[in-house]
Amino acid sequence: MFNPIELRKPSTLLEAVSDLATYGFDARIIAGNTALYELAAQGGLDDVHILIDSSRLGLDYIRSGTDGRLHVGATTTFSQLAKNKHCLQGRNAALGEAASRISPPQIRNMGTIGGSISIGLPFLDMPVTLLALDAEINVMSKDGRKTIKIDDFFVDYFTTALNPEDLITEIVFPEEDGSSEKKEEERGGNSQRSVGFSAFIKIGRTTVDFAVINCAVCLEIERHESKSKSPLVEKARVALGCVGNKPIRRRDIEALLENSELNRATIESAALLPVDFEPSPSIHASPSYKKKMITVSVREALYTLLDRMNSATPIS
């Protein structure tokens, strides 16, 4: 039975990581608490004796950094994400969309971005979104700070690259205009910089249920002034949740999209690429149904992105 004996209330990151170093796997960070108490109610967590409250660490922020990247503190709630303009537009649009699709509002007011990735559940909406957006996870422990790339973060069911003494401090999203190396290369008056767009699609049994399939896509396209030709995809990240023990990328679809013009023909052939793996079944969806929904969600995400690209103001 879940029976914690001590509550730690660190007010600085140093105190928090020192508590984690002392208690290790005996302790759990409490952020939004939407997942932990559910696990406890179902008879889990009887090995947890120390609770560490993260609410005094000042990690609930969303800010555009001086590096041009978006920095989101680990205890930022889904409600905050769903309302913040930085998370609703351009390359990060999928972040706000995914947050607003997390239901119901009571959960959005409680759950946090850091908590929803640290628990390592493959059907939640944040993991798949962060995977598509190529986020980086900034982590602190008593030994110092490190950055974990999202591609290396999810390991297995309930398992991430985090060690028991690690604390997620923030999630960082790449800058809107493609990678910084690319900008460096082209700082010679060349206006052909890339620009990012993203979309999130959730297919569920009801609007307040967990996803049956969730899909996030981020495309970086060549920036040009004319709207007459189809956008040229430079970089694609297509991520799916609810299909296995961790969210995955569809690298076959990404390869088809990259260096292609995004139009109806490309979208249809990308969405119809055969699903060459067996998605894990769930109580509401068989693998064959999930395969069909993968096609549907990828298609919908790509058409959404095409619409967004066409309605975006071209910037030279």
């Binding site: 879940f2 029976n3 914690p4 004996i5 001590e6 509550l7 409490i30 608490n33 939407t34 108490y37 559910e38 109610a41 179902q42 609770l51 409250d53 609410s55 409600s79 239901s103 119901p104 509002p105 009571q106 959960i107 007011n109 409680m110 609007t207 307040v208």
Partner: protein, 162 residues
């Protein structure tokens, strides 16, 4: 452990245990049984209360999280002494929004939070706000109608909030 919290505008010093939920604090320690227990792990919405005016599930909120926070339960809505109802409660009665009433405290609170933030919600916004509270009697359409009607009443300045 001891915490200080504000429940329905009253500052309280309380002795709680670390494993208590906010729901247990309200029902078992304070005797405020208007807040209901349903699934007890954040699925049904029966235990919804407002923390700093925002709806949360009290069954999965640790009681210690109430420290320094302002909690509103159904007992803090309307003026009980002289039978004045909050416009949301009045419209729910008028529109026959509920039968058994088990979900009603939560419905009132999510509606209160919505109208405080957004005095003129669309029907879709009302549905979204109510989506976290399950009703198994009347369905939801009469609740939606009642909240839209309450929004109109409140805009005309007939608010009886305390």
């Amino acid at each position: 452990m001891r915490i200080r919290t504000v429940v329905n505008n009253e500052t309280l010093d309380l002795e709680i245990s670390l494993s208590n939920s906010l729901l247990e604090l309200l029902r078992d320690i304070l005797g405020l049984t208007g807040t209901k227990k349903g699934c007890d792990f954040g699925g049904c919405g029966m235990c919804t209360v407002l923390v700093e005016d925002k709806p949360v599930f009290s069954c999965i909120t640790p009681a210690w999280r109430a420290e320094g926070k302002r909690i509103t339960t159904i007992e803090g809505v309307g003026i009980r002494d002289n039978h004045h109802l909050h416009p949301i409660q009045a419209e729910m009665l008028k529109n026959f929004a509920f039968q058994c009433g088990y979900c009603t405290p939560s419905m009132v609170l999510v509606a209160k939070s919505l109208l405080q933030e957004n005095p003129s919600p669309t029907e879709q916004e009302v549905k979204e706000a109510l989506s976290g509270v399950i009703c198994r009697c009347t369905g939801y359409s009469r609740y939606v109608k009642a909240v839209l009607a309450a929004a109109e009443t409140m805009k005309k300045g007939l608010e009886l909030d305390i």
